[in-house]
């Protein structure tokens, strides 16, 4: 039932929200893994392999990148699947904390020292400042996770009205 000024009456059957089925959420989470896989694993590993094939020492191993990427992808998928539940807040905190630790790990590897193959030149490139700015994202993610956890503790369904409107 519609009201004037764009107000919409709630659906009594769904109490104003409609949660996608678990199967649907798993499928969507799986599809979301594709771009995440390219961003977190495929591109970095390809770049590292390209550098390694030309004799350039790597700042981080491809195994480490893959392991961190799988961890982040798994947590991202779990976070999406668990979005309608009270576990969403805590999983968001954990996912952001893992990103935070990953970035701190990468910062600890800065500066990247590179000996140019076939020459006697050594290049050092610092990127810590850039990643320190990037830390804003997981820090905000942790805060958001805490807020969601607090909100869910008060009323489990309050958030669902806006996250999954009917």
């Amino acid at each position: 039932m519609s009201f004037s000024s764009g107000y919409v009456a709630p659906s009594s059957e769904t109490a104003g929200y409609r949660i996608p089925s678990l199967g649907y959420r798993i499928v969507i989470a799986g599809l979301r893994l594709v771009p995440t896989f390219f961003l977190l694993i495929a591109l970095p590993v390809a770049a590292l392999s390209f550098a390694s094939s030309r004799g350039i020492a790597l700042p981080i191993s491809t195994y480490a990148v893959t392991a961190w990427g799988i961890a982040l992808m798994s947590l991202g998928a779990a976070r999406y699947i668990l979005k309608p539940t009270r576990a969403y807040g805590p999983v968001s905190i954990v996912a952001s904390a893992v990103v935070l630790v990953y970035l701190l790990y990468l910062i600890s590897l800065s500066p990247y020292r590179l000996t140019i193959p076939g020459g006697s030149a050594t290049l050092a490139a610092g990127y810590a400042s850039f990643l320190e700015i990037a830390l804003i994202m997981p820090v905000l993610g942790i805060i958001v996770g805490i807020l969601v956890t607090i909100e869910d503790a008060g009323s489990r369904t309050e958030r669902l009205l806006f996250d999954f409107p009917a």
């Binding site: 009456a9 006697s120 490139a125 610092g126 804003i136 905000l140 958001v144």
Partner: protein
């Protein structure tokens, strides 16, 4: 009936706002990183160049290596605090000279051109005397610092060996058998060397025959015109001063080129 289009609770709105900020930061960082990589590749492709390098004899017994150093920055971001230093040592590890550029800033879409002048001592005395007459390997150590795109500090160290070709390689001033008699003695003096330097030896070589008691017995002047890679071998007869014996003495030589005079190592007379 309860309208669902109600205002979300404050805690939800705060969380949503933070998510938006986080997403905006992510997008901004991705765009920034992408443009930095693109710009850095542009800078790397132009590469720094040393242009118009030339070597010439200069005052105070030195060879001047002059020219300019050019660094183009066609990228979107500035190169701040660019500083480059190069130090050159001879094969014995003795420091010969140093050049420096900066610190300076090179803005986006601009080119920095820096004049350089390196003076290598080639005088006949001191630890670097052999540069004039002996080919050797010079050790070049260079290091530089800069900050690219505000956030990325860079430093580079370079160490390499460069061959030095002596302008009077194997210089020898020798005397032959004395000729004449009756109080008038002439002595043939032969000067030989190879010019291994990239510049011509053009000027005069003035020599003095000095006795063991450091008395001037006579001397002369050779006209020098030795292009790079050539061998110089000339002999000249010198009339010695009456009663002056060169035995046990030495030949002192000075190369002059357009007002610049450089002493060559003395050659002993047996």
């Amino acid at each position: 009936m309860v309208p669902t289009h109600r205002r979300p609770p404050p805690i939800y709105r705060l969380a949503r706002a933070l998510r938006w900020i986080s997403a905006l930061v992510l997008v901004a960082l991705i765009i920034f990183a992408g443009t930095v990589i693109y710009s850095a590749v542009q800078v790397a492709q132009t590469s720094a160049q040393s242009r118009g390098l030339s070597a010439s004899f200069a005052a105070n017994g030195t060879v001047e290596i002059g020219g300019s150093f050019t660094l183009s920055n066609p990228g979107l971001y500035p190169i701040d605090g660019f500083k480059l230093t190069a130090r050159i040592a001879n094969s014995s590890g003795v420091n010969l000279g140093q050049i420096g550029v900066g610190p300076t800033n090179i803005g986006a879409f601009s080119t920095g051109v820096f004049p350089i002048a390196l003076y290598l001592p080639v005088s006949a005395s001191g630890p670097t005397a052999s540069l004039l007459t002996v080919d050797q390997t010079l050790r070049v150590n260079a290091w530089g610092n800069a900050t690219y795109a505000y956030l990325f500090p860079l430093s580079i160290k370079l160490a390499e060996n460069r061959s030095w070709g002596a302008p009077f390689e194997g210089f020898e001033a020798s005397v032959g058998m004395p000729l004449g008699g009756g109080g008038m003695i002439t002595l043939p003096v032969t000067v030989t060397f190879s010019n291994h330097a990239p510049v011509s030896d053009a000027g005069t070589l003035t020599f003095v025959i000095e006795s063991a008691a450091q008395v001037d017995c006579g001397g002369g002047t050779f006209a020098i015109a030795a292009p790079p890679g050539s061998l110089y071998d000339q002999t000249q007869d010198v009339t010695l001063s009456s009663g002056c014996s060169p035995a046990g003495g030495q030949i002192l030589s000075t190369y002059s080129n357009g007002g610049t005079a450089i002493s060559l190592p003395p050659e002993a007379i047996p």
